[in-house]
Amino acid sequence: MAKPEGVVAKPGSSKEYKTGSWRTEKPVFKQDKCTDCRICVMVCPDGVIFGSDKKYYADLDYCKGCGICVEECPVDDIEMVVEVR
């Protein structure tokens, strides 16, 4: 008898796929003027900016390099840098 295996997937298993390879530029957190407003954390479409206490970082395994965090940082404390791979 064939097992009734419906097509299902485990929760959050998308993490097996690393979207970081799509990127040509990466965000660099200068940690200079940061005010802990956490807007960068909030606006990341992929939810991959983490941190606290004025120290934030993007998980570069997944960051697609869209640059929204740079655009929305109210104190210009993040910049996009061309990545050489």
Binding site: V7, A9, K10, P11, G12, S13, S14, K15, E16, Y17, K18, T19, W22, R23, V41, M42, V43, C44, P45, D46, G47, V48, F50, G51, S52, D53, D59, D61, Y62, K64, G65, C66, G67, I68, V70, E71, E72
Partner: protein, 297 residues
């Protein structure tokens, strides 16, 4: 000292949404505001495609996609099943669809779900065209946007109609809560999701989500574009409870519609072709009418 925050979203990374995707951002914000005790449905479309390429899924809650037009009906089935099985306290039910799934092909099932009074929050991710299939116009494509099936051309200014008034259509079903929101104002979006889920019965939340690919704007500008849509008056942000408008987001500093249109190549023809100024005036009229109708200023 605050603990370093490493809590991950209920919409996990690794999904295949384009860089700067407004819909992915909205979905993440909504799930985290609503979860984790939720059961979620989705219509066919970008959201489903980018998040569930077998054998992987970005969703961390029980989640199902069936077809293009039945997200709301499947959610209704889930809601009644939870009731019938005595599991109604296990989870709240959320249905999702894009603008085409909501306002066009799925509007019949959606109306049925509203009319029957299911305890379901319906989210319409409005990116103003069928993006998954390659930017064809939908019932929520704005006036004179160029899409692949409403292209601008020698004798055309693009899409000939304005957005179908889905929030008002939803509210006319006498459902307890209808709201519009945008990824431009995330705190407001979070607040509305939480409020909606605190109310029993059918709820409708339409979220304006810029699409860098379909609207042809720089991916980094997703939030700027979304905010500008609100500040021109083209996208009114409001709540309706029991058919009456109960709150509106006031425009802080009114912007002419050009400021919004010029950020996006889907409106480029309005600035290039002779006579475009007249057409932009017509779009300004739509914004001004919204400002008057909803009391945005």
């Amino acid at each position: 000292m605050k603990k370093p925050e490493i809590t991950e979203s209920l919409l996990a990374p690794g999904h295949k949404a384009c860089a700067g995707c407004g819909e992915a951002l909205a979905a993440r914000i909504i799930m985290d505001a609503a979860g984790p005790d939720i059961i979620v449905t989705a219509a066919t479309g970008c959201l489903e495609v980018f998040s569930t390429l077998y054998p992987q899924s970005a969703w961390k809650m029980p989640w199902i996609h069936s077809l293009f037009e039945n997200s709301s009906a499947v959610a209704a089935g889930i809601e009644v099943a939870l009731k019938a099985l005595g599991r109604e306290n296990e989870a709240k039910v959320i249905a999702q669809g894009g603008d085409g799934a909501t306002a066009d092909i799925g509007v019949g099932c959606l109306s049925g779900m509203f009319e029957r009074g299911h305890d379901v929050l319906y989210i319409c991710y409005d990116n103003e065209a069928y993006m998954n299939t390659g930017i064809q116009r939908s019932g929520l494509t704005p006036f004179e946007a160029s899409t692949t099936t409403s292209p601008s051309g020698e004798i055309s200014w693009g899409n000939k109609t304005d957005k179908k008034p889905m929030p008002e259509i939803a509210a006319a079903h006498k459902i307890p809560y209808v709201a519009t929101a945008t990824v431009g104002y995330i705190k407001d979006l979070e607040k509305k999701v939480k409020k909606a889920l605190s109310i029993k019965g059918p709820k409708y939340l339409q979220v304006h989500c810029p699409c860098p690919l379909g609207w042809a704007h720089d991916p980094s500008l997703t939030i700027k574009v979304a905010k500008m849509a609100v500040q021109t008056g083209l996208i009114p942000i409001f709540e309706m409870e029991n058919e009456k408008i109960t709150s509106v987001r006031k425009i802080a500093k009114k912007q002419p519609v050009e400021e919004y249109l010029k950020l996006q190549a889907r409106f480029r023809h309005l600035f290039k072709k002779i006579g475009g100024e007249e057409e932009i005036k017509r779009i300004q009229q739509i914004a001004d009418n919204n400002i008057k109708k909803y009391g945005l200023m």
